[in-house]
């Protein structure tokens, strides 16, 4: 019941957001929601069915291009389709693309599968610029949204509500999928493929369908993006998009239904927030991802659930350890960020030009302070922070000893 209440209030917040937020923020929310849907569609394949795809941008992009073409057709009067239903075209295109690509990719399992998905996406990425009529060449394609009833689609808010409706609907459908008999079988594919086929299921066909469904929802997400931006370019097929959905999903946690949503939402929001402050945002994403893979394994959502559980069980020792680990952890993070930001400012082209012109190293500004790059202290402070933080983390863990709960708190239950 509590969960339903939480979900209802999230939906209510999403619906009310445009009333208080500026147009720019609504735009950010729109892209964040699209990232959420993409991550959840991706997780159906990679988390639920255990088939790690490194080329999911392909289906996202196919959906996007299909929607742009549909919008152009509507604009020219060749096609009649109410504007809010346009993302559906992306879903159909994603489904078809996913079934075709899935046929090949699911011929193999495990790491081979991952490599095939990567190769398939690269295949499309390499061919796309040469197919001008479909992918619009290097420039890409642009179009206009047509008005629909009282929605003239002239401002962000109309687009935003359409996106919210689609995302909520699709997440609902994904949830329902997990509750169907086939949805249960999907998890069986992840757990023991051999058993699935020896129970009488056609493993290949089963996998193709899962792939297709995942690609369909990815296509809707891509369609929503095209719908929002009214333009698309072949660069969306590149590795960057495929990588970001992997990062979002596993930072959020693939083992929890809303895990990928958490990851995508947090990253998309943070991304637009800090992208003005730093150009290293992707690097921090990568470092966070590596850290989570190494120390937690199952992502932020699972961490949250564990903390909630510890509160319920009144497992104070585990909670105390977490509280103890937080400040030194933040200290390490602050040290790393400072170090990287200083480095990036010194390596900046403008700065390098100044250095070569004046033959001196002027101080750089960070957090409102001036840091002298030639002073030892500038570098020693962040390095000491990292060292001290890491030392304290180590100390806290070894103090806690080999108690089961605190161990699990850090290492995560990877077997799960």
């Amino acid at each position: 019941m509590m969960r339903i209440g939480l979900l209802a209030s999230i939906v209510a917040l999403l619906l009310g957001a445009p009333l208080v937020l500026s147009g720019h923020v609504v735009g950010v929310l729109t892209t964040a929601l699209i990232a959420v849907l993409f991550a959840m569609a991706f997780n159906l394949l990679s988390g639920r069915a255990g088939m790690l795809s490194f080329g999911h941008a392909a289906y996202f992009a196919i959906g996007g291009f299909a929607v742009i073409h549909a919008m152009q057709a509507v604009e020219k009067g060749l096609l009649w389709l109410p504007t809010p239903l346009l993302p559906l075209v992306g879903g159909v295109a994603g489904l078809i693309g996913g079934l075709c690509a899935g046929y090949f990719a699911t011929l193999r399992s495990g790491v081979y599968f991952s490599m095939v998905t990567l190769a398939l996406a690269e295949l499309l990425h390499a061919i796309a610029p040469n197919l001008g009529s479909i992918f619009g060449g290097e420039v890409g394609l642009t179009t206009m949204r047509m008005p629909w009833t009282s929605f003239d689609y002239g401002n962000e808010v109309h687009v935003y509500y359409t996106v919210v409706a689609w995302v909520v609907l699709c997440i609902g459908l994904l949830y329902a999928y997990n509750q169907t008999l086939f949805g249960r079988l999907t998890v069986g594919v992840r757990e023991a493929e051999r058993r699935v086929s020896f129970l009488g299921y056609n493993l290949h066909h089963t996998k193709i369908i899962v792939f297709g469904v995942s690609a369909m929802f990815s296509g809707i997400a891509g369609g929503l993006l095209a719908f929002t931006t009214e333009s698309i370019n072949y660069s969306i097929l590149g590795m960057g998009m495929s990588a970001s959905v992997v990062l979002h999903t596993f930072v959020g946690g693939s083992g929890v239904f809303f895990g990928p949503a958490v990851g995508a939402f947090v990253f998309a929001l943070f991304g637009s927030l800090v992208s003005d402050m730093t150009k290293n945002w992707l690097l921090y994403q990568g470092i966070l991802f590596v850290g989570i893979m190494m120390f937690m394994g199952d992502g932020l959502a699972m961490l949250w659930l564990r903390i909630v559980n510890e509160f319920k069980e009144r497992n104070w020792s585990a909670l105390k350890l977490r509280a103890l680990l937080l400040p030194p952890g933040l200290l390490v993070a602050a040290g790393v960020v400072t170090l990287l930001e200083l480095t990036s400012r010194i390596l900046d082209q403008q700065y390098a030009a100044i250095v070569s012109r004046t033959k001196a190293w002027p101080p750089v500004s960070l957090y409102g302070f001036n840091w002298n790059p030639t002073a030892l202290a500038t570098w020693l402070v962040p390095i000491l922070a990292i060292g001290a933080g890491a030392g304290l983390v180590f100390l806290a863990i070894s103090r806690a000893g080999r108690e089961a709960a605190p161990r699990a708190a850090l290492a995560g239950e990877h077997a799960r």
Binding site: G50, L52, F54, F104, L107, R108, G110, V111, Y112, S114, M115, V116, L118, A119, L120, E122, L123, A126, I127, N130, L131, S133, I134, M239, A243, V246, L247, F250, N280, L282, L283, Q285, G286, I287, F289, V290, M293, M294, G297, L340, T343, S344, L347, Q349, H414, A415
Partner: protein, 313 residues
């Protein structure tokens, strides 16, 4: 004739370079079951480091030092990162190496900028080596091929003639057995990972000046190296060698082919119709050369799922 010989030579050079990267990937995959996404990052790191070292001192020193730094980085990753998640399953390892590759790419952008750097062969090797049919063949290409062949010879001797080589080959075949015989498998893993990284680093150090040194080079190399591993067959070095040369030749020949499906249709008298349809039909093979490796991989997966030299077809 000229086209064929020059293309064959170019393809051979590219194929040999490819093998320097994919050999390590294959060995690591065969032994540890890890598809190391960060392997092509070692290639990129080798190129960037030797570019910088060559600028500070000279090219030859760069060739010596850069791969060693890459090797150290590789061993660090194996010892302190991959080993940590060992036992959490292959997908966890795959994801971790994927993340490491991502971080490497961003670090390269941070330190060297998000654009290609001007990494060029040293003056000594910038001239032509010989000329064929009036075309000069650059001596740097000959040098790259020579480095690769020497490396290939060393690798062969190491694997075939030394005790370590026997252990490595045995653990590719039967990973469990080797530790049962009392060998220190973690140490062997560390060594193989280091050597693999070193080879990729060296490939980057020489290849960066031949091709381009840019932040996207690792992503591109990753895909092609994976294609080599799949086409060659699981953990088979011979397979990787054949597949590397095959892809090298395929790429270099396709660049010169100005033929499209419509031209083929022309032979049967349907040229006009095909040209009207356009799209894929009028796409020239030369403009598809970047996607040919991936295409080859699909064909192999359909016809020989375990690869050319895989024994589990």
């Amino acid at each position: 004739m000229e086209f064929i010989v020059i293309s064959a030579l170019n393809g051979l050079v590219y194929g040999l370079l490819l093998f320097m990267v994919s050999a390590g990937l294959t060995l690591i995959f065969g032994m540890m079951g890890i598809v190391n996404f960060a392997h092509a990052s070692f290639y990129m790191l080798g190129a960037y480091l030797s570019f910088t070292i060559a600028r500070i001192s000279n090219f030859w020193l760069a060739l010596l030092i850069a791969p060693l730094i890459v090797m150290a980085a590789g061993m660090f990753i194996e010892r302190f990162m991959l080993r940590r998640v060992h036992g959490f399953g292959h997908s966890q390892q795959l994801l971790l190496t994927f993340g490491i590759a991502f971080v490497f790419e961003e670090l390269v952008k941070l330190f060297w900028g998000n654009f290609p750097v001007a990494y060029r062969p040293p003056p000594l090797l910038s001239g032509p080596a010989f000329s064929l049919f009036g075309t000069n063949f650059p001596s740097y290409r000959v040098f790259v091929a020579a480095v690769a062949i020497v490396l290939l010879g060393l690798l062969y001797l190491l694997l075939q003639k030394t005790r370590i080589g026997i252990i490595v080959r045995a653990s590719v075949q039967r990973p469990g057995m080797v530790s049962a015989l009392g060998h220190n498998v973690p140490l062997v893993f560390l060594g193989v990972f280091g050597v693999g990284a070193w080879m990729a680093g060296l490939a980057g150090a020489v290849g960066g000046a031949l091709l381009t040194t840019s932040p996207t080079m690792s992503g591109e190399m990753s895909v092609i190296a994976f294609v080599v591993v799949v086409v060659g067959g699981l953990g088979s070095l011979l397979g990787a060698f054949i597949a590397s040369l095959l892809i090298g030749l395929l790429t270099s020949f396709s660049v010169g082919f100005q033929v499209s499906l419509a031209d083929v249709a022309q032979l049967f008298g349907y040229g006009e119709q095909a040209r009207q349809i356009g799209g894929l039909l009028t796409l020239e093979i030369s403009s598809m050369s970047a996607s040919l490796p991936a295409l080859l991989m699909l064909v192999v997966l359909l016809t020989r799922p375990a690869g050319l030299m895989g024994d589990r077809n």
